[in-house]
């Protein structure tokens, strides 16, 4: 990945996404233009169904745009095939979900180590690194607990630890506080902001919680599949 402080890390041009179902065609995104700079912490806000998740999944290469170009670090990810995308995500991105999505069968430590396991890192090393991060997040007591033995806030912190362990360039977060009470939500957003500040990781976070956006550098507002407003 080519890094250039003066070029945006993520560039979306004329991005349109149309969902075709049996009877209808739904334009979830229409002609979106977006630049996200290296090291930025950007929030995507909008009402439910406005296209926030769609934008995020296109930028993360989880699905392909119907039209337009998406460049990340100078690479046209809209042109990559499935296998290349998987590899791209493994090396460059981390993900945080609204419903945590930890692996039920694995312990907290194993969950955090999972991306390293996927990269083929040996067991001793990946478990050690996972332990360090979990300790940092105050979850040292829960290394060997399964997700269903943890609270929502704890699970989300484990999931953030999983997102950052492989030191990705970008973290995508889709309503990471959606299932949490406001106090816990605050802790989660703060830790994302910390990661952004300390490691310089670019973060794109979908939220509809206006109270939380004060921690971000920029707010991108979406309505009806179009970017309506961007404020710093």
């Amino acid at each position: 990945m080519i890094e250039n402080k003066h070029e945006p890390l993520i560039i979306a041009r004329n991005v349109t996404k149309i969902y075709k179902t049996d009877k209808t065609r739904l334009k979830a995104l229409a002609n979106v233009h977006l630049d996200v700079m290296q090291g930025e912490f950007a929030a995507i806000v909008g009402t439910s169904g406005s296209g926030k998740s769609t934008l995020l999944s296109l930028l993360a290469g989880l699905e392909k745009p119907s039209a337009g170009r998406i460049m990340i670090g100078g690479r046209g990810i809209h042109r990559l095939n499935e296998e290349q995308l998987v590899d791209f995500r493994l090396k460059n991105t981390g993900f945080v979900f609204q419903s945590f999505n930890l692996f039920e069968v694995l312990t907290a430590q194993e969950n955090v180590a999972f991306p390293l396991m996927a990269q083929g890192v040996g067991k001793a090393e990946r478990m050690e690194r996972a332990k360090l991060i979990l300790n940092e997040y105050g979850l040292g007591r829960h290394l060997h607990h399964k997700p269903n033995e943890l609270s929502g806030g704890e699970q989300q912190r484990v999931s953030i630890a999983r997102a950052i362990i492989a030191e990705p360039k970008i973290i995508f977060a889709d309503e990471p506080t959606g299932n949490l009470d406001s106090q816990t939500a605050d802790i989660i957003i703060k830790s994302l902001a910390d990661i952004n500040k300390q490691k310089g990781t670019t973060i794109l976070m979908v939220t509809h919680d206006m109270e939380r956006v004060k921690y971000t550098d920029r707010i991108i507002k979406i309505a009806d599949g179009m970017i309506s407003e961007q404020e710093a």
């Binding site: 999944s57 989880l62 699905e63 998987v86 039920e104």
Partner: protein, 427 residues
């Protein structure tokens, strides 16, 4: 991702769904056990069948006089022997007759002591000695070979003739036994002249074909028997003995393929004839069909367990849609995800296969029936139903179970990788 990590993940996922995994495994266990037991049965049957073929002179035809055919009475005599020798593809003909004596040996007597008389040059076809030797054809003395079972013909008094009596505790080999033609009847009946005394020398003791059963056969040469009959013509006549006739004539074909034709010819002469080949041909066809049936039963069981595995994997994948999506989002390749599910179904196959083989062995150990002939599933087990389970059978059964697991898991695994990564993000 390393293969060991994949395997560990598979095991964890199987373990999470313990009861379902266990039930699926049970399906495979039954399927594999079924296949192993069925093939083992087939093997046992085949081995016993082949052994039976070995033991049943397939070129041999037994000829009797047809006793039901009173009108056209044919006789088993030298004319018949010559007639049979002239039938095409007959290699040789062996006549045989039974001749009965009254015997005395030391302080013991045998009321009826009967010997089978065969041409001495063919004696080796009927008798095999354990101790001593076969009759010397050039001897002018009467010589006999006898089985251990025949010892019990000799008693001190008639009360000793009981089921468990094994005969006097004396050495028979090389002994000389006094014989009179005709048995006790000829001795006691005043009107029947007493025959000459023959001192029969026991040259050999017969080998027992089965350990539990001691043969009571006694053999002597046909020439000697004919000599006894002609030297005691009056006695033989008074006893209604058939002096020129035989009890059985054995006709040997040059090849078992010609047996049926020879049988037909001999029967057309009015004799009753019989050969193992006739029913063995029938049995062979039957046997093939049964082997096919066994395999079919086993295969059905296997297909059912394959469907079980496929169903379990499909259910598991539907349940884990989201998890699969997360793996895709994190960056686990399609091949690895597919491998994960294939390993899961292969493990079900392998565990089920191994347990199935063990079950089959336990079954074989418990159900085995010793010795006696048994009929099972229309199959005839001559020396009891045993289960031959060689190592290759176990190994291939486990191999098949793993193969079935992988095959059954193939389509579910493929559909797993076709799920969108979005499953993780939405819902």
């Amino acid at each position: 991702m390393k293969i060991l990590d994949l395997i560990k993940l598979s095991v964890l996922n199987l373990y999470r769904r313990k009861s379902r995994t266990a039930l699926t495994v049970v399906g495979v266990v039954i399927g594999t056990a079924c296949i192993v037991i069925m093939i083992s049965l087939g093997l046992t049957n085949l081995v016993q069948f082949n052994k039976m073929l070995e033991n049943s002179d397939l070129e041999k035809i037994e000829v009797f006089a047809d006793e039901n055919n009173g009108m056209n009475k044919v006789k088993l005599n030298d004319a018949a022997v010559n007639a049979f020798l002239n039938v095409e593809n007959v290699e040789y003909v062996i006549p045989q007759k039974r001749i009965t004596f009254y015997g005395e040996f030391r302080e013991y007597y045998a009321s009826y002591f009967s010997a089978i008389a065969v041409p001495s040059e063919y004696l080796y076809k009927f008798a095999e000695v354990e101790e001593g030797q076969l009759i010397n054809p050039d001897s002018s003395m009467m010589q006999i070979v006898m089985g251990e079972g025949a010892f019990s013909y000799f008693v001190k008094n008639d009360d000793e003739y009981t089921r468990n009596y094994t005969g006097p505790n004396v050495e028979f080999l090389a002994a000389s036994i006094d014989l009179y033609l005709g048995g006790i009847r000829a001795i006691e009946n005043e009107e029947i002249p007493i025959s000459k005394l023959y001192k029969a020398q026991v040259t050999g003791i017969l080998k027992n074909e089965e350990e539990e059963y001691k043969t009571s056969d006694v053999y002597m040469s046909l020439d000697m028997a004919q000599k006894v009959l002609s030297e005691n013509y009056k006695t033989a006549n008074a006893l209604n003995m058939d002096i020129n006739g035989y009890d059985t004539i054995y006709v040997y074909a040059d090849n078992m393929d010609n047996v049926q034709e020879i049988l037909n010819t001999i029967r057309s002469y009015g004799f009753e004839a019989y050969s193992n080949t006739e029913w063995i041909t029938e049995l062979k066809a039957q046997q093939k069909a049964q082997q096919g049936q066994l395999l079919a039963i086993g295969l059905i069981a296997l297909v059912v367990s394959a469907i079980g595995i496929a169903n379990t994997m499909m259910t598991s994948i539907i349940e884990r849609k989201k998890e699969i999506g997360v793996m895709k989002v994190i960056g686990v390749s399609i091949l690895k995800i597919r491998a994960l599910f294939l390993i899961e179904s292969a493990i079900i196959g392998a565990v089920g296969g191994i347990a199935g083989c063990m079950l089959a062995h336990v079954f074989g150990y418990v159900v085995v029936s010793y010795g006696d002939a048994v009929n099972f599933l229309g199959m005839y087990f001559q020396s009891g139903m045993k289960f031959i389970m060689p190592l290759w059978l176990d190994l291939s059964a486990i191999g098949i179970a793993v193969f079935v697991g992988v095959t059954a898991g193939f389509f579910p695994a493929r559909s797993a990788t076709m799920l969108s990564a979005l499953e993780a993000v939405r819902g």
